[in-house]
Symmetry: D3
Amino acid sequence: MSVTVSRKAHFNAAHRLYRPDWDDAANEEVFGKCANPYYHGHNYDLIVHVTGTIDPTTGYVVDMKVLKDLIKSEIEDAFDHKNLNEQVPEFKNLIPTAENIVVVIWDKLRPHIDSDKKLAVTLYETPRNYVHYEG
Amino acid sequence: MSVTVSRKAHFNAAHRLYRPDWDDAANEEVFGKCANPYYHGHNYDLIVHVTGTIDPTTGYVVDMKVLKDLIKSEIEDAFDHKNLNEQVPEFKNLIPTAENIVVVIWDKLRPHIDSDKKLAVTLYETPRNYVHYEG
Amino acid sequence: MSVTVSRKAHFNAAHRLYRPDWDDAANEEVFGKCANPYYHGHNYDLIVHVTGTIDPTTGYVVDMKVLKDLIKSEIEDAFDHKNLNEQVPEFKNLIPTAENIVVVIWDKLRPHIDSDKKLAVTLYETPRNYVHYEG
Amino acid sequence: MSVTVSRKAHFNAAHRLYRPDWDDAANEEVFGKCANPYYHGHNYDLIVHVTGTIDPTTGYVVDMKVLKDLIKSEIEDAFDHKNLNEQVPEFKNLIPTAENIVVVIWDKLRPHIDSDKKLAVTLYETPRNYVHYEG
Amino acid sequence: MSVTVSRKAHFNAAHRLYRPDWDDAANEEVFGKCANPYYHGHNYDLIVHVTGTIDPTTGYVVDMKVLKDLIKSEIEDAFDHKNLNEQVPEFKNLIPTAENIVVVIWDKLRPHIDSDKKLAVTLYETPRNYVHYEG
Amino acid sequence: MSVTVSRKAHFNAAHRLYRPDWDDAANEEVFGKCANPYYHGHNYDLIVHVTGTIDPTTGYVVDMKVLKDLIKSEIEDAFDHKNLNEQVPEFKNLIPTAENIVVVIWDKLRPHIDSDKKLAVTLYETPRNYVHYEG
């Protein structure tokens, strides 16, 4: 009896999309307005999904309070009100597209989730654009 | 050509999370504020998903009106404005966590859905916490 | 230059609507399913609106962090995961309808908001039912 | 490392559900109010999901701007502010149920998505009714 | 102590915007895609607001169940799954713009609301366009 | 017969809250995480409200297409994917708090709205924080 438990969280951050090995024209052509050297930003909405069997003692797949605290300590504290390019080490050499951010978040959370449980992460960059990664 | 049809519904209910075989301190430690002996409550949002092939005569996988009425008679009439612990028989000996509720809902609906169709249920306990069960 | 600043919060609670001086039939007739003696519950969504002039030094009408903490200490800590009838003193002799709750919330917040600022409160009992009070 | 990228769009359209080979009574019995000969309509919300590996050069699975423009040219321009029965050729001999519409949308988009990427489409007919098709 | 009580409802309808005393080019110029002679449609979301004093006996400004039933009988039954131009008498000689619809709804509800209470109506034509009328 | 017409739009931007005449400690004390010198960002949701009488010829208070284009040319083109502090002249000497942004937006739109119509602007900095200005 496998159930997926999902918890929403959010953080606000600045970023820009560009490759330092490309000139401005090349960056602008590929990344458009997202290449703005002065940065822009988003309210990121994050959903963390954990799939596993229900513990018959507690009725929980995972304690939501524990999951909420894990998301706060691993993701919100690291990303919220930050400049992803300048202040989050994972993006020092990685373009902070939504696709790359969702993989980074999954990689940061995976070691903290029991190995017999499945982890998936959904990340909304805007209410109209979102990505999903299952590992 | 398999399509999933989803229908949203909702019910409001009271519940508490606790084990009668544990003392108050143990319940409080595991279930926190959710163990409050005077109950608390939620607006539960429910999404029922039915997957099957499209009937070429009607263009339907399932008639949404029939699905809506089924959710009402089987789930809303049984759960809405109720105390899950005290008034819903399925939770007499089962802790009404979101995980257990979503399995109970799936079990109640499954006999009413054609056996060649797949059933899944998503249950929002709050806009930030939800669970999903596919049987 | 008067601007209104609004902050959302939420709490989950159980309640029932009934008058102890009426018999069950009278309560059922007026309050319907809401009179259920075993209680039911809601995810209440709360929006607190403060209207005033912008402080030219900070650009704030009110510091959102201060407003967020005030809502937490005065309302969320008092109401969240509680039974409004049994555990919130303001409803000992007051029916916890959405209308009465929103007035109680306004009365609890008003002394903490500068007297030259206007306060209004919106309370969602469900996504379909809400109330608004401006004092 | 397979990531799903999702983009929301929307269009408004009129439709009716009926079979010309049935009489009015038969159409009314099966399709109810949806058989109204004068049509009714919806704000359709559309989510297009593309799954593939992240391009290490751009950090993209697919360029969202390209996906947005594709949805506009193939779907929004063809369906928005149209009568699906009368003005969209795909429904000349196909009942425009949500199930059939989502398959038509998938079929229209599939040739424009790289063959090594997976395509799925979700279509909300109302905020309470939606369908999903993965091909 | 004046409180506003708000109740949401919805209906789906087809309409077109045009003046029969104008030719097609003039209609197209003013109303654009909305003039399509084959109609298009919307999921209209409706919020009805009633402002008055709280009845100390019930704690209600207005009984939400009564308000819900009133919206159903006066508005939803008349407008849902209808063609506003062809099947709703109020629009026989009135262009069914959102502005005109919201006034028609207000006029239909006003006689059923106590004269000492204030009525306002909000109508969403799409999630991005809405209108509000207070009489 | 005065009706309010509301149109939603959105833009993504980076900003920081700080006073150049204060040192870092003072900025941090007042503006907290929002003072981050590397900026952070938001998906701003904007609602523009225009109140006036219905034109009996068109049934419009204002043509939504015209209003949509006005918001795009005056606000979205100026603010979207920009750093408000560095790239939007209005904030050269004005802290880009939500309160100041909403006043700037109102001031930019007001000359383009007929003088006999009332203008109001609502700005969501996050789904939990928003401001409203009526001039």
